[in-house]
């Protein structure tokens, strides 16, 4: 049997974080995805304890202010890309409004920390979403192109190929065969 499971990584992470913090008797409020405020002052030892506990699942306490901003940018981009009406927004405007910084500033910080541009990251995320949609196999490439705000299938295909080095159909074929291979 083959099951396609759709999951929301944000919900899972928030839930996992919440459970862990509650186990450690830490009072907190969630400010946004990947951002929490601890209400009491906790000592360094307890913080370290928390860090090691979260580490195996890839959680990392971001300490640098710029890194925090980058994480916020990323979260915003993911939100934008996975929003069904993302067509209505221009990404630069969306990010600037959401994060209360000029787009130029955000762009600079992002490049400085990640060595890649916001634009590239947006493309990466869009292609990522395209990949998910291709695998679920419910939509045609035309529909996916429209949903992800591409002017044409060719545009999507070209960007897909430029980003991953392979064509959408080859990607679909490979993933399908890989799954068969695993059985």
């Amino acid at each position: 049997m083959k099951l396609f499971i759709k999951f929301d990584i944000n919900t899972i992470c928030s839930l996992y974080l919440k459970q862990n913090l509650e186990q450690n008797n830490i009072n907190f409020t969630t400010l946004g995805f990947g951002e929490i405020e601890i209400e009491d002052n906790i000592d360094a030892e307890a913080l370290d304890n928390l860090k090691t506990k979260l580490a195996p699942c890839g959680f990392e306490v971001v300490e640098n202010q710029k890194s925090v901003l980058v994480q916020k940018i990323k979260d915003a981009i993911i939100e934008l890309v996975f929003m069904d009406d993302s067509n209505n927004y221009k990404s630069s405007v969306f990010l600037a409004e959401k994060l209360n910084h000029s787009y130029g500033y955000l762009s600079n910080v992002f490049s400085e920390v990640t060595y890649s541009s916001i634009e590239n990251f947006i493309i990466l995320q869009k292609i990522e979403r395209a990949k998910q949609l291709i695998i679920i196999n419910e939509m045609s490439l035309t529909e996916i192109a429209f949903l992800l705000n591409y002017s044409s299938v060719a545009h999507l295909s070209t960007q897909f190929k430029n980003t991953t080095g392979i064509t959408p159909s080859a990607f679909q074929r490979i993933i399908k065969k890989r799954r068969e291979n695993l059985k």
């Binding site: 993911i78 990640t114 990251f121 990466l124 991953t164 080095g165 392979i166």
Partner: protein
């Protein structure tokens, strides 16, 4: 961007290639820790030895003595504690068959060995960046396929 250096392992029997690789990593901005093995057997020994830290990215030449890259790939994907390693095939072959075949076997990245050092640097940079995005931005690793020329 990262506190700890990125752990890179290259399995390649060609000494010159190992040298290019090492130089290229030294010249990019990202802090890395590059190790080398010379053939497939050595690679598997290295990975199976629990004293060694598992690499973040394994660069795998297909054409190696004793054990080919393809054999290593299949073995790694079958081994529970190794199967999540990001694998970049690093080969001279640009045959579509090899590319698709290794992707199906579970490789994430396919790099055709470039004939230009700057291209190599560019490629390594891209691999590391995309890999980092996959690590940090909630991207599904099952869908991580990247072909670089």
């Amino acid at each position: 961007m990262q506190k700890n250096a990125l752990h890179i392992l290259l399995a390649d029997d060609d000494e010159d290639d190992r040298l290019f690789f090492k130089d290229a990593f030294e010249e990019i901005k990202i802090q890395t820790n590059v190790n080398f093995v010379h053939d497939g057997m050595q690679l598997m020994d290295h990975l199976m030895n629990t004293d060694n830290k598992l690499p973040d990215i394994l660069f795998l030449d297909l054409n190696m003595p004793k054990k080919t890259g393809k054999e290593c790939l299949i073995e790694i994907k079958k081994t529970e504690h190794l199967k999540d390693i990001i694998i970049a095939i690093y080969s001279t072959s640009s045959s579509e068959e090899d590319i698709e075949d290794t992707f199906i076997q579970g490789a994430n990245i396919y790099i055709k060995k470039p004939s230009d050092f700057n291209t190599l640097k560019k490629i390594i940079n891209e691999v590391v960046t995309v890999n980092w995005h996959y690590h940090t931005s909630g991207l599904n690793r099952d869908n991580f396929l990247l072909r670089l020329k």
